[in-house]
């Protein structure tokens, strides 16, 4: 009987999802139509807003025609992923150190908070001076921006471990190391992944902003190029590519999270004693 209820619920959930997707699509089509018609008949300058058709043409050309986007896409992806990786690893390690050491918390945490209040975009030019116009400065900016949500969530997550579980471990004589590895670290993972999810999107922003400041390649560099040429359709096409990248990266983090934090999913096969 519980199985019947859950399939019924799943069926209703899928119907609800289909309905929402349909509404989203209708809204999208209406918006596109309104956009296209206003550009066409209200004499909007194509330099301000290109017609949707031109954007699609630019997108197809950039991806499949001349393929201009691919080398830049590759550079931006390398910058984003490397920056995210460095920011996440450093953030997670610092989070552990700060959460577990009173002295480090007192010494380091004020600096981290103070550093966070500095707009990273504003220090991007400095990174370009220090590390040059290549991908090094872009990775540094992406890592700097991605770092903070990871460190904060790691600290929060380690503090969120249930006191009752830690007390149980102590009752059986567990060492501090065992309490950390067997209880605190697993308990912190949902928080860590929440931080990683924010960090991956911020890493994309970091890479793009750094490319604006000074670069030889990348999707941010491409946007600047189109900007100089007043090719707004090209800019819109790159923005669509960026949105797709951001969404895919977010999905990837969510998919890994679901595999790692398997115990958070409610089981459909609950057993009764």
């Amino acid at each position: 009987m519980p199985a019947a209820i859950s399939t019924e619920r799943a069926r209703r959930g899928r119907a609800e999802l289909r309905r929402r997707i349909a509404i989203s699509l209708i809204v999208f089509v209406l918006l596109m139509a309104a956009w296209h018609l206003s550009v066409r008949y209200l004499a909007v300058n194509v330099l301000i807003a290109p017609a949707p058709g031109d954007v699609v043409l630019a997108l197809v050309d950039g991806l499949f025609g001349r393929g201009t986007f691919w080398p830049h896409l590759r550079v931006t992806m390398i910058e984003t992923l490397a920056g995210f990786g460095i920011g996440a690893v450093v953030g997670a390690i610092l989070g552990v150190l700060i959460a577990e050491s009173r002295i480090l918390r007192d010494v380091l945490y004020p600096y981290i908070v103070a550093f966070q209040t500095v707009p990273k975009v504003a220090i991007a030019p400095l990174f370009v001076i220090w590390l040059g116009f290549g991908i090094g400065s872009k990775i540094a900016i992406a890592a700097t921006i991605a770092f903070f949500p990871v460190v904060v969530n790691m600290i929060e997550g380690l503090a969120a471990a249930e006191a009752s579980l830690l007390e149980m471990m102590s009752a059986f004589g567990a060492s501090r190391r065992d309490r950390f590895l067997l209880v605190k670290l697993p308990a912190s993972l949902p928080f860590l992944f929440a931080g990683l999810d924010i960090a991956i999107v911020l890493a994309v922003i970091g890479a793009i902003v750094a490319e604006f400041v000074g670069a030889q390649a990348g999707l941010g560099y491409l946007i600047m190029q189109y900007n100089f040429n007043l090719d707004t359709a090209g800019i819109f096409a790159v923005l669509i590519v960026l949105a797709v990248i951001g969404t895919l990266l977010h999905w990837a983090v969510t998919a890994i999270q679901a595999r790692v934090i398997f115990w958070k999913q409610t089981s459909s096969s609950m057993v009764r004693a």
């Binding site: 149980m168 059986f172 065992d178 067997l182 115990w263 089981s267 057993v271």
Partner: protein
């Protein structure tokens, strides 16, 4: 050897600068292999006393010896069961049972068969590779009991272990606990606020009273073993529960 508690005091500082006197002059000796129930209303310090015996709380005065040693040294010889199961959600049932083996650096191979045998006795052998969230509350608590027994400790401390279970499951668990304990030679200290549960399980019932928590009376339970649920209809059972209820009624503690 058993447990020797002499002159234990416990005071807590409160937020407003006052002091709560949780335990006052507790003297109690629990004979090796015997089953003792700590009985009293909420706030009488029975759980606090159990935490002191477990070494989870440092007493502010007096001493506690488990098998002649201070608690810090005897910890590996103690198994504890809490009111909630306190299982690690990211570990399977079997790995949860093996937690004491792992943290006490014992050899896994020496205990894995014992862990499986305990799960078998508890009737949950089929769930060894499941995760806690897949089990009901009663089954989770059985896992917690297996975990307290896996390293074969001489002493078991139980803090209202069946308090969160429904009445039917609770009676079944009481019976199973007696079955597992009988002939095991283990010393058990069992905290409860249920008068029938205390009388049904224990050799001696230690009656505690609150503000400050102290031992009011120790009642010997002279009912024969092995016991089954039928013993609740025994006149001796009624006499003992009646006497205990009278102690609380006189103080106005019972509801």
């Amino acid at each position: 050897m058993g447990i020797e508690i002499s002159g234990v005091e416990q005071r807590f500082d409160t937020m407003d600068g006052g002091t709560v006197h949780a335990l006052s002059g507790i003297n109690l000796s629990v004979a090796s292999g015997s089953f003792v129930a700590l009985l009293g209303p909420s706030g009488c310090g029975k759980s606090t006393l159990l935490k002191v015996i477990a070494g989870l709380l440092a007493q502010t005065g007096g001493s506690v010896l488990v098998n002649g040693k201070p608690v810090a040294e005897s910890r590996y010889d103690v198994g504890m069961v809490f009111q909630d199961a306190r299982l690690l959600p990211w570990k399977t049932v079997l790995e949860n049972v093996m937690i004491p083996i792992r943290v006490q650096r014992r050899k896994r191979a020496d205990y894995i068969d014992r862990a499986r045998a305990l799960l078998d006795v508890a009737g949950i052998a089929d769930f060894a590779s499941r995760y806690p969230a897949e089990l009901s509350g009663g089954m989770q608590q059985r896992v917690a009991i297996c975990r307290a027994l896996v390293h074969d400790p001489s002493t078991i401390l139980m803090d209202e272990p069946f308090g969160a279970l429904d009445a039917m499951t609770r009676e079944t668990m009481n019976l199973e606990l007696l079955r597992i304990w009988s002939g095991s030679q283990k010393t058990v200290v069992f905290v409860t606020h249920s008068i029938p549960e205390a009388v049904f399980l224990a050799d001696r019932v230690v009656v505690m009273t609150p503000r400050p928590g102290k031992v009011q009376e120790i009642v010997e339970v002279d009912l024969p073993r092995p016991r089954d649920l039928g013993i609740m209809a025994d006149p001796g059972f009624g006499r003992l529960t009646g006497h205990l209820r009278g102690l609380f009624n006189a103080r106005g503690d019972i509801h």
